[in-house]
């Protein structure tokens, strides 16, 4: 995977769902929240980079094994697999909710989800390099349609920058606190999944550079998106909107000829969620085939799990968003994105200081390798 593929993959991953939802409306001036969030998120990413450097070319699961030993490491691996699949299924649910409200109101969601899940399995089984190339195509499409939406909004006269006022009506403190509660965990913190693929990004240094670059560009795009949504809908209305970009797009009307561009918004989220889910499912399959020790493809079965749980995970839309904004952040995001990585990094630093290399537990990978060569020779 070359640098550009890596960059667009990260960018599409970050924009995937958040370009539709924007930051939660915990404070006015959401765009400022979005702009500020990149600073702590960048720091969090530094933790991932540190882990990637300490992992010495291994993936996340190798690091966990190395740091915690085989048994506990495996337990954490399983936890991460479940976490990845859960996030993927939440993303599918997000997408389906939007599709159901915008373009297909009567089709049973299970049919739509089944179709989507097949596509995810196909994308995930292609490997990370193919996903990287895919993301270039999708980035081009998403970028094109997003800017088309913005232009059409401007031309239809719906943009009024006065709606951005009053500025900082509840003080600076609130704006500074909110990112810590939400934005850095979603979408930026979800970059933790790329620890599974960090060796594909090259060295830890290129990983850091690509990551930061993608985060800054994503941050700018999201800020622009927020500014656009707020200046179209106004601060009062946007609080009640579940899909602000969709509601903004519905304001488009050019000479009563180009109207109702819901389909474009649906296209944005379908393609974005596709890339996100492909990455998550691919990461989970790597973990699964490692834990269960079989060189089998888990892509299809994991994707089916994602689909099933996207239906089972919550009863209705309101519960889904409530869970996403409150419980998932405290019970899943913070442990999986901050606590475990930080603890793992600390353990790695303590256990593998200079000169203590001989204690290094043999990695699962090394143990499997001789077997494979022996079998290969027998075949020959």
């Amino acid at each position: 995977m070359n640098v550009v593929h890596g960059y667009t993959l990260l960018l599409v991953f970050l924009l995937g769902t958040s370009i539709i939802f924007g930051p939660p409306r915990l404070a006015p001036d959401a765009w400022l929240v979005e702009l500020i969030a990149v600073v702590p998120a960048g720091a969090l990413f530094l933790l991932f980079v540190g882990l990637a450097a300490a992992g010495n070319g291994g993936n996340l699961f190798d690091m966990l094994d190395k740091a915690w030993g085989r048994t506990i490491g495996r337990m954490w691996t399983l936890c991460y697999i479940v976490y990845f699949l859960y996030i993927a299924s939440r993303n599918v649910r997000d997408m389906i909710e939007l599709v159901m409200t915008s373009i297909l109101r009567a089709t049973p969601p299970s049919v739509l989800i089944f179709m989507f899940v097949l596509v995810i399995a196909y994308a995930a089984s292609g490997g990370i390099a193919a996903t990287g190339r895919l993301s270039v195509l999708i980035a081009a499409l998403v970028g094109f349609f997003f800017f088309a939406l913005a232009l059409l909004l401007v031309f239809s006269g719906s943009v009024d920058t006065e709606r951005l006022l009053p500025f900082l009506s509840e003080g600076l403190a609130k704006v500074l606190v909110v990112p810590l509660k939400s934005s850095i965990w979603f979408p930026y913190g979800e970059l933790v999944v790329f620890l599974v693929f960090c060796s594909s990004f090259g060295t830890a240094r290129t990983f850091r550079r690509t990551g930061w670059l993608a985060m800054i560009s994503a941050c700018l795009l999201l800020t622009f998106s927020d500014l656009l949504q707020t200046s179209v809908l106004g601060m009062e209305n946007i609080v009640f909107s579940i899909f602000p970009l969709l509601d903004a797009a519905r304001m488009i009307s050019i000479f009563n000829f180009i109207t109702r561009l819901d389909a474009l918004v649906a296209l944005l989220i379908i393609l974005g969620v596709l890339v996100k889910c492909a990455v998550f499912v691919h990461a989970a399959t790597i973990g699964a085939s490692r834990t269960f020790g079989r060189h089998r493809r888990f892509a299809f079965s994991s994707a089916l799990l994602v689909g099933a749980f996207s239906i089972l995970v919550t009863h209705n839309n309101a519960e889904h968003f409530e869970e996403g904004l409150k419980y998932v952040i405290y019970w899943l995001h913070i442990p999986a994105q901050l606590v475990i990585p930080a603890a793992t990094l600390m353990l790695l630093r303590i256990r593998y200081r200079k000169g203590e290399r001989e204690h290094e537990p043999r990695r699962l990978h090394d143990r499997l390798e001789p077997n494979r060569t022996r079998r290969g020779r027998a075949d020959a």
Partner: protein, 444 residues
Amino acid sequence: MTFGDTDDLALVSLRFCGKEGLLCYFTTLTSASFMMNYVIQPLAQASDDLAGEDATALLKEVRERCLSGLSSELSDQLHVLPMKLGRGYAALFAEGARDCLLVDVKELVTRSVEEPTSQNVIRGPKEGFTESAATNMSLIRRRIVTDKLRFERYEIGEKTRTEVYLAYIEEEADEEVLRQVREQVRSCRMVSLFDSGSLESLFRPRGYWLFPTVYNSERPDSVCSCLLDKRIAVIVGGSPFVLIVPAIFRDFFQSPEDHYQWFLVGLFARLLRYVAFLLSLVVPSLYVAITSYHQELIPTILLTSIAAQREGIPFPAVIEILLMEAAFEILREAGTRMPRLVGQAISIAGALVLGEAAVQAGIVSNINVIVVALTVISSYVAPVYTFGSNIRIFRYGLILLASFTGLYGVILGCAVLMIHLSRMETFGVPYMSPLSRMLGGKTP
């Protein structure tokens, strides 16, 4: 002799240099005047002082003095004889000699170099490849004057023994790709090979059949520019279509003419082809999706006009589209296979009966005819015919998806196509490299 008493085997006994000789060749692979002028006459005129006591030495002398202009060889292995005679050699036996002299006397009637029929340009060279591999190689050799141009000869086909040449520019072409191509060609087992199209499946990556990964051209200028672009050409005797590997997505949207015009015109034409490709893929499915699921996306005035047109039509949009597409497919197939003289009849039947009459009879709507016509026309914009033909199958899949799940299905179908494209690799080169090429990816 293994040939039995086939009528075209000539056994001419003649006397040269004081010895009895027998000349044996196929009259169907050479011409009488060629034999007379270049073989029999020099032999007959050969002075008797060549005559030595050793017949083998005599044959050697004859070869060097009388027939030095023709490619020839001395051989004492009788089992190669049938193969050599079949390739257009004449065998000369002399009394008392163990060896025989094999002389290449092949002279075949070939089509002269004409304008290519399937890849036309308005501006640019009008020469096209022919069925003769030798002519084709000459057309390449005269364009690229370099000592690095190589032709490698292979034979494929148990019965046909078709000659296959790999053409490449040494030190330019990728060694790894070259190795793989050689391996594929060597390991190829076929009974017969009549056209390069049968070879294409050799170079296709497993599981990816939707898009062609081999470029074929009957234009020497296009093949030469590909050779200079570090690729490998495969010339098959008997086929005017030369294959080029590895080929990527971008290649199928380029016509050599793009480079012979002002660059903006070429750029515009290329962009137009991409757009036409997209149109041919999604227009019918978008029509089905929008008219049956998302009427709100159509501006109201247009919507009422479409609804008025469709008022008397008994079918849902998807049946209507499929009917019309099937009619066009049949028309297209008939158009390519029929004798040229009845071409007028087909176009009248197609244009009048299928277009006008079907609308007036209330079977299909006007807008439907427009949609299908647009699709069909845009699917022929791709400069390489095979590219458009495979993708047709996918178009029907998209139409069905659109009829079940509307725009959602169309978007997912396009996503599958994008995933497919980004997963594809030919000879280690990603199929979608046009996007990554300028960005430091591996170039073909």
